[in-house]
Amino acid sequence: MSEALVVGRLETGRGGFRGGPYDLHLEPGEASQLVGENGCGKSTLLETLAGLVPAFGGTVRLGDTTWEGPGVPTVAPWRRGVGVLLQALGLWPHLTVRGQAELAAPGAGERIDDLADRLAITALLDRRPARLSGGEAQRAALLRTLAPDPRVLLLDEPTSAQHDGTEALVRAVIRGELARGRIVVLASHRGWPGVRTVEMGSG
């Protein structure tokens, strides 16, 4: 059986908000872009896929493993093998950029150096988040997300803090991951040519 990410009739929600049901089917190397207005539930759907927000119904599967589903215990976020870039980043202020990446991916020094180089943050690896600009912090968080080489990438506005030059770097890195057979679900207000779009308005 293929290692596809399959989302069936997934219902999500947080606070007073309810979204769904959503259906998705992504084979390795495929990407999907969630688009819609502010507050339509893009971030909530990503966080539900990541296991941070409980689902109200429906199923989420990756290959043979069911992450969410009726009668099945929910798989904890850290067992799903996903890489998540949160909109709020959530960088840990007590660790350097390298420290964060190494904590997420112990022993992945080479990959970290390579990714840092591609994201143009090699010089920032020994800095703590307080000394990073908004764009730098976002790339540092992306580095932490990609370092463990996750099979599924859930990226919430990955280029929102980037200017033209660095946005191209970020896009290149993400496309590189796609080319390596990773599954990418991203929420973005900016267009991603060639990526399948999921309109999220009425659900």
Binding site: V82, V84, G90
Partner: protein, 493 residues
């Protein structure tokens, strides 16, 4: 969500169960002819306890919270000098605060302020307002710079202070409920103000009147009263709205330890002088003070060596329980806090101690254990607050790490500031603890708090003042030292 529902039901059972049990046992008790004063007396004691502890905690929250907002919102000069004065009532044992206030006010027309229900509530508030003040100031120190600048540039100082007050409210309310839980079984202030509350009643039952059954009945009443509040104190709601972490630099921590030591002396002398404790500096007193001084210093030093590691360990264990066992577990661990203070020591005497090998039974471990169990709730509640004030995004980002890495590499370092704050508060509470101390203190061991009680009994006020000064200064210096260690350990974050 599901866990919360289950927790809520369990807590409800915790709240209602004891009341039902209590009613049943009370009837049996009354029939056996051991009850005193009947049900109306019980209701009166419960009501009085609620009034005294409730209004004391409410006042501490309002006053401490307001002062916390004030010191955070405005730049006030000579902070190093008045900070010890603000914190002193919390750093001093209750018996000193009460005796000072009473000898100052009892002779005049303001006597009502230090006697009866009003006095008990006010003295409780005076003692615990610094706790709320400290917590609020710490949490507001963590308001992001951008937000502060926005407030300063766009709002009048008054409106900015109101906004800060709203930001501080969740922490203030939780510390307020912690204050209530601490006050519920208290003995000293009610006893010295002449108010019969649950604490003295339960103590009398377990010791003087020799009726353990009645003592346990009072325990169930305490649990019944405290359960709904424990539910609130352990709730996660609204705390996420609290700004960042308690682990930011402590706004009240003076810049240097030496400055603290120096500042404490005039501040405390001023306070004790006002309390009239220094007015009978007779030769006899001084002579005694000279001969006792070296013993007290040794006793205080030895006790600090015991209390600091105990408090740090307790704060860590409390934090671990607070993040790991859900709200119900947290509430259960916090329960001893609301029970009579002598209870862990009595249970130890009754059950465990005779079976322990002599080298353990004769050391301070039973004392450490009794005091640790008594105050574990403080560590758990503060540990939970420290954890819950880590920003959600950081916690979410840590969800993708293995549980051990998440706990010890991300959540622990991020909560270190809160944990050290909790340890500091525990140091103060344990140094001033006497109820279990007198039951399980190892023979030959001098405890500063017990010594203070004895000195005040015969009004050796000069010595009591000196010892309190040393005690509060030691606690104050520990606040500064632990605060610095906490900051250092947290790194430059």
């Amino acid at each position: 969500m599901r866990e919360t529902d289950r927790g809520a039901r369990l807590l409800l059972a915790l709240a209602l169960g004891p009341f039902a049990l209590f009613a049943l046992l009370w009837i049996l008790h009354a029939e056996s002819g051991e009850g005193s004063g009947g049900i109306s007396s019980v209701i009166a004691v419960v009501a009085r306890t609620l009034v005294v502890a409730g209004s004391g905690a409410a006042l501490a929250t309002v006053v401490g919270g307001a002062l916390g907002v004030l010191v955070s919102a405005y730049r006030i000069p000579a902070r190093g000098l008045w900070t010890p004065l603000l914190l002193a009532p919390f750093l001093l044992p209750s018996v000193v605060v009460t005796t000072a206030a009473q000898s100052w006010l009892a002779g005049g027309s303001l006597v009502v302020l230090v006697r009866g229900e009003v006095g008990a509530a006010l003295l409780h508030a005076v003692q615990l307002a610094p706790l709320v003040l400290w917590g609020v100031a710490r949490s507001l120190a963590a308001v992001p710079r951008a937000e502060r600048l926005a407030m300063r540039s766009q709002l009048s100082p008054g409106r900015a202070a109101r906004l800060l007050a709203a930001r501080a409210a969740p922490v203030a309310l939780r510390l307020g409920s912690l204050s209530f839980l601490l006050l519920l079984p208290r003995i000293e202030i009610p006893a010295y103000t002449g108010v019969e509350t649950i604490g003295p009643r339960a103590l009398a039952a377990f010791t003087a009147s020799g009726s353990d059954l009645e003592g346990w009945l009072w325990c169930t009443v305490c649990l019944g009263i405290a359960a709904p509040l424990l539910r609130f104190a352990t709730a996660t709601i609204a705390l996420e709205a609290a700004p960042a972490s308690l682990g930011r630099p402590d706004p009240l921590a003076p810049r240097s330890v030496v400055a603290t030591a120096i500042a404490f002396v005039p501040a405390l002398l001023a306070m004790l002088g006002l309390g009239g404790l220094c007015d009978d500096a007779l030769e006899e007193g001084f002579a005694l003070a000279q001969s006792e001084a070296s013993r007290w210093i040794a006793a205080l030093g030895l006790d600090i060596l015991r209390v600091v590691p105990l408090s740090l360990a307790l704060a860590l264990v409390g934090w671990r329980i607070g993040i790991g066992v859900g709200r119900v577990g947290t509430a259960l661990a916090a329960l001893p806090l609301v029970l009579p203070g002598c209870l862990p020591a009595l249970i130890l005497l009754e059950g465990g101690l005779p079976r322990l090998p002599a080298w353990i039974a004769d050391g301070t471990i039973p004392l450490d254990f009794a005091q640790g169990v008594r105050f574990l709730g403080v560590a758990v509640l503060l540990g939970r607050i420290a954890d819950r004030t880590i920003p959600r995004a950081e916690r979410d980002a840590a969800s993708f790490l293995s549980p051990i890495t998440r706990r010890f590499r991300v959540l622990l370092p991020r909560a270190v500031g809160g944990i050290t704050a909790s340890a500091t508060i525990l140091v103060v509470l344990i140094l001033g603890e006497v109820e279990s101390a007198s039951l399980v203190v190892p023979p030959g061991r001098l405890l500063p708090a017990v010594e203070l009680h004895q000195l005040l009994h015969y009004r050796y006020d000069v010595q009591a003042a000196r010892l309190s000064l040393a005690l509060a200064a030691a606690a104050g210096i520990l606040v500064a030292v632990i605060g610095r260690v906490g900051r250092g350990a947290k790194g430059a974050g």
